[in-house]
């Protein structure tokens, strides 16, 4: 008898054991789900490839002519690809939730693992980890491109440009911050996707959230509102983590900017968690 009880799936044991233990089977299940369809792998590959491609194109197209001063933040320029990479992250995050809803898989998932917080936490942990890995690859490639190409285009140390390399403190902060930025974008869109459920609508909402504020900002003349938007919108504040020059004129300090994005992501995850907990699947 006792052996039969032990042979039961771990999820059934969850109520009896400690809370932390229930996360492991949930993680295992989510990992199996992600691993066995080709979509997420392609999207992660696309994230790295697209980011590096855009960053390389950006540094390749920028020159500093000899007779002009160039107000270019070389580190931020090398990380241009994040602008597009974040869209891929948003799609990936939305797909991990909404695909389960559209195919009816969610009901199976929740029948197998009735502890919904564990399901959502497992999804979040796994997604963030995967995005951190792919993002690290993307950012490393981008920094490498900037490091190799920019000195040849007039951005030399002799003219006061710091080499784009991780040994330079601000560049290290910008690079590691960009990786975290992608992970936070993933959590933000995961939260939105859990609330909205439909993949189409959640992708639309997240893409609007990512790109609308920067556009609004460029059309606004009022300085107070500009400052406010720069301080409190997810993408504009979050991407200040990439700035290495002109830090005094920023509306918010780099790490605090990333913190603002973290607040957005936490709010989205919290709202998503509550909705997920109390709504029928």
């Amino acid at each position: 008898m006792s052996t039969a009880v032990q042979a039961q799936p771990a999820s059934a044991m969850a109520t009896a054991t400690a809370r932390g233990a229930s996360l492991r089977p949930a993680l295992h299940a989510e990992w199996t789900k992600l691993r066995t369809v080709s979509g997420p792998a392609w999207l992660l590959l696309g994230l790295a490839a697209l980011t590096i491609a855009v960053s390389t194109a950006a540094v390749g197209a920028t020159h500093c002519p000899r007779n002009l001063t160039c107000p270019v933040d070389t580190t931020k320029l090398s990380l241009t690809g994040i602008q597009l990479g974040q869209a891929v992250v948003a799609i990936l995050a939305a797909a991990t939730v909404s695909n389960e809803y559209s195919s009816g898989m969610m009901r199976v998932t929740l029948a197998a693992m009735p502890r919904r917080q564990a399901v959502l936490a497992a999804k979040a942990i796994l997604l963030a980890a995967l995005v951190l890995v792919a993002g690290a690859v993307a950012v490393s490639g981008s920094v490498l491109a900037g490091h190799l190409i920019l000195p040849g285009h007039g951005f030399t140390a002799a003219r006061g440009f710091h080499p784009v390399w991780l040994s330079y403190g601000p560049t290290l902060r910008a690079a590691s911050g960009s990786v975290l930025y992608l992970a936070l974008i993933a959590l933000l869109s995961l939260g939105v996707a859990v609330i909205v459920r439909d993949s189409a609508v959640s992708i639309g909402v997240v893409l609007a959230l990512l790109y609308v504020f920067p556009i609004v900002l460029s059309f606004i003349g009022n300085e107070h509102w500009q400052r406010r938007l720069e301080r409190w919108t997810p993408t504009v504040a979050g991407l200040t983590v990439q700035d290495t020059t002109g830090l005094r004129s920023l509306a918010i300090t780099p790490w605090a900017g990333l913190g603002v994005l973290a607040i957005w992501a936490a709010a989205a995850m919290l709202a998503g968690g509550l909705v997920f907990r109390y709504r029928d699947a």
Binding site: L68, T80, A87, A94, S98
Partner: protein
Amino acid sequence: MTTRAISVPRPEAGPGHGPRGGGFGSLLRAEWIKFRSVRGWVIGMLLAAVLTIFLGVFAAANANIRCHINGGPLKSGKACLPYIPRGPGGEIVTDSFSFVRQPLTGNGTITVRVTSLTGEHANLSSGPVRAGNGSMVPGLAEWAKAGIIMKQSTHQGSAYAAMMVTDSHGVRMQHNFTGDTAGMPGAVSAAHPRWLRLARSGDTITGYESADGTHWIQVGTVRLTGLPSTVQVGMFATSPGYTVTQNSFGGTSNSGGPAQATGVFDHVSLAGGAPGSTWTGTAIGGGGPAGGGPGPGGSGSVQFTRNAGRYMLTGSGDIAPVTPGPNSPFPMVTIGQSLVGAFLGLIAIVVVAAMFFSTEYRRGLIRTTLAAAPRRGAVLAAKAVVIGAVAFVTGLVAAVVSIGVGVPKEENSGQVLLTAPLLTEARVIVGTAAMLAVAAVFAVALGAILRRSAAAITIAVVAVVMPFLLTALNVVPAGVGDWLLRLTPAAALAIEQSIPRYSQVTTAISPVQGYYPLSPYAGFAVLCLWAVAALALALVMLRRRDA
């Protein structure tokens, strides 16, 4: 018998023509009922209108203009505006130049030889500068000019015709701020002087040019209706601000600074002038040398040198229509800028439109739809018409309200509205609605091709919104951005351009300033082509695939 029965299910071979043979009308009705009975879609469309209006009005209402005039108390809004001259055509113009003039009554002819056009501008490679503090370097702004002019009066904005030499655009004949005719190309120098002549006969003024003073070529003839019998005639020099546009990924920066131009004239002759008249130096609109001259609006005297029939005159300003840009003399808006929210509405509409077709696949409704109406082309057409019409009405309401509420707010806050003719305003408003409608049709077709909402929406948003975003935010250099706005569906945003591009004014092509690389209708046609191509592909796929 069985083989016959098997061949029937192909929709084209089916005998039915829609429900009860009702034809296309009942198909439209069916699709309309589908649309309005899904609450999310109706909310999505309402959201599109609300977002468009909100963003437009929000962007308009927050302009914040403050100033101290001549060290006086702090003022804000409209009180900060300088005198704004308007040309004979009603457009807002810049009319500032150094003018060495005398009156001319009745018909007459002025002839001069220009031997040099030189100038200096702010040294932009050494940070911000102010005129007159020694950090000017030799060089000319693109449209620096010097030449001869016949002008109705010394009032800013009055009618004129002029012959001039320019830095890089050769000899030009210009009139009434918007007219511009090219003459011989090439720069002027002592070795290659340019002879210029203006002849008045009644209301008609004819411009001539010559390389040697004997062989004259007519450049153009203009009619200035209502020209008084006495006009001001003479030599002028002026130069718009100097701008450098630096293109790179991650930033297109426009930097600008003051500039001035100096023209040298000799062989000056005026036939028909009053005997005994002498030349007077006048700074029209404060257009003396950069950094000097009287305050804005008025006209003062300007120094010029005269030495053995050789005149040298220096001026700064421009004689041209005002366009938005880094050098504009006051904050200004176009009606198109109140429609900045349209692209946010576009996202919402594209999402709804893509789902309008693709959801049928998810729920299996498509099989019912095609069983009821076996002609697949007609189903696609009905969906496109319904969603297009809904998007058009939504866009029309949003555009009318955005402009109707936003523009007065902008004007109250002290910005100058660059007015457009009524027909242009109508084109901007109806065009915005039509753009949303065609984008919706494009998204419907994508939904039919891809059958999955997520993919359709991502592609539609990336194709329509992303090029605009990358260009407006200067994420890509201007050259790349121009091509994105020519080739992608985002080209249709050109329909919102309400101010013409003038060849004689340096303007940056930037959606933020309201300028697009394609003409309004050409840009709209690009989106239409994309929509037609997507519809054709969708039709082929629908016919070939089982539902």
